[in-house]
């Protein structure tokens, strides 16, 4: 039984729906850890509210945030996956159908950037990236809706043969630009090298890694730890009203390039919406996040 149009359509819509109603377990654990170590009373109160909001959303099947963002999917196709049908159209059609039936209804956030008109449809919506996994017999779909609150603070600058000091100083510059604005504590993704588009994609993918996991590259693992301490030393705190917890994690990755080195920095707000599942060649759906 191949991986069908219908299966991809149903699963991509489900992943988006699920992502709106539940904060991922790694993120809840990160908030609990932050609450245990936070020293400021106001910040502790805000963290408790975050945990309360997340639990209430899950228990009562509510949206955590009124801003459902725009649907963003990252699809990885195994080279041994057997496909039946237009799975690209399936993702778009799945979102269109979801808009018709989801309860409660979604607000209109899909925005034409030339007119600022908002609706449910628009060019290239949903936003989908495509990747290939050698030998795999599945299609993996990761859904990570993005909204203005944290999305607008992403930034990229291109350097020439930068030192690690320059790269880290740039990350801190972007953190300062975001300040109190991005619904902290955030998950920060940093992409170094490659080309303009590759660095941005690496940064975005870095935010998808589970909080609490260690980067397998020792140089990056050390960078992540010291950048996390540096970001939390700024003092912006939960919701940017002061505290020890401005970020739950900093995740860094890189690609080799040519010596002109783009450095991309992006943020996920504290609710860190993320769901992921695989459809196998035998039709089995494996929910992973």
């Amino acid at each position: 039984m191949p991986i069908t149009y219908d299966a991809v359509k149903a699963l991509s819509a489900q992943l988006y729906d699920w992502s709106l109603r539940r904060v991922p377990p790694d993120t809840l654990a990160g908030l609990e850890t932050a609450l245990a170590s936070e020293t400021q009373d106001g910040a502790r109160q805000v963290l408790r509210m975050m945990l309360g909001s997340a639990r209430k959303a899950e228990a009562e099947d509510r949206f955590v945030c009124s801003d459902a963002g725009v649907p963003v999917f990252h699809v990885t196709i195994g080279t041994a996956a057997r496909l039946d049908g237009d799975i690209k159209a399936a993702i778009s059609d799945g979102f269109d159908e979801l808009v018709e039936r989801i309860s409660p209804p979604l607000l209109k956030h899909v925005t034409n950037p030339l007119t600022n008109e908002r609706g449910y449809k628009g060019r290239d919506m949903p936003l989908v990236t495509w990747d290939v996994a050698g030998g795999a017999d599945w299609v993996e779909i990761l859904c990570q809706p993005k909204a203005l609150g944290s999305g607008r603070w992403a930034a990229l600058e291109t350097f020439s043969f930068p030192s690690l000091a320059q790269i880290e100083a740039y990350v801190m510059k972007v953190v300062m630009q975001a300040g109190s604005q991005h619904c902290p504590p955030v998950i920060i993704g940093v992409g170094i090298g490659g080309s303009f588009d590759v660095a941005a994609r690496i940064a975005s993918k870095a935010t998808m890694r589970a909080i609490g996991t260690t980067n397998p590259e020792p140089v990056l693992a050390a960078m992540e730890q010291r950048l996390l301490r540096a970001v939390n030393a700024t003092g912006f705190g939960p919701m940017g009203t002061g505290g020890d917890t401005t970020a739950l994690a900093v995740h860094v990755d890189y690609a080799s390039g040519h010596g002109y080195t783009p450095v991309a920095v992006c943020f996920n707000c504290w609710i860190n919406r993320r769901t992921r599942a695989r459809i196998h060649n035998d039709g089995r759906v494996e929910r992973m996040e």
């Binding site: 106001g42 109160q45 805000v46 509210m49 975050m50 309360g52 909001s53 997340a54 209430k56 959303a57 009562e60 509510r62 949206f63 955590v64 945030c65 009124s66 801003d67 409660p104 209804p105 607000l107 209109k108 908002r118 203005l148 609150g149 607008r152 690690l164 000091a165 880290e168 100083a169 801190m172 300062m176 300040g179 109190s180 604005q181 619904c183 140089v219 050390a222 010291r226 950048l227 301490r229 540096a230 030393a233 700024t234 003092g235 912006f236 705190g237 919701m239 940017g240 009203t241 002061g242 707000c269 504290w270 609710i271």
Partner: protein, 204 residues
Amino acid sequence: MRTIRFPMSREDARSLSAGDMILADGEIVITAGLPTIQRLVACADEARDPPIALDGGSLFHLGSYSQDTADGGLEILYMNPTTSTRFNPLMPRLIRHFGLTAVGGKGGLDAGCVDAMAEVGCVYLSFLGGGAPLHSAAIKAVRAVAYPDLVAHYRLVRLAVEGLGPLTVGIDTHGNSLFDTLQQQAADRMPDILARLAAERAAS
């Protein structure tokens, strides 16, 4: 924690300090739309009454999904704050013209707004982003919805709420802004932060 009646009185506004946390009972007016704020500025400029009275009121940058009910009423399915700094250029005009006592949303407002708020006696209240389940549960009734031609979260909505919050006083009437203070504090700390990064790089 102190519970304050809304619309907030000028006296209550002036009694608050940046960093205080409060709960809100009473009536508030909300919108998350830039076109809405522009329409309200046009009302001020043209000396017209807005469709929902704002004089001495409390106007928050909260988006909501409002819809008609079968019995001819209105309901809000969910509500949550939006980024207030988007409205920085327009808020001083609204704060001064309508004599607002409380504004709010998330992320704060800039120095021009802080000045207008000190002049008028208005506070900024920070709501939890991603707090839709909590904020929505505090809604007791929908009093009015204006600008129905706009998308739902842009509409101007007057609500009765009970136990909304806790809300953090981000900017008080005395010119104190947590957001400005924290930005300056982070800038002041940055030389030390960068020095520590350098030391840790050298040690790793």
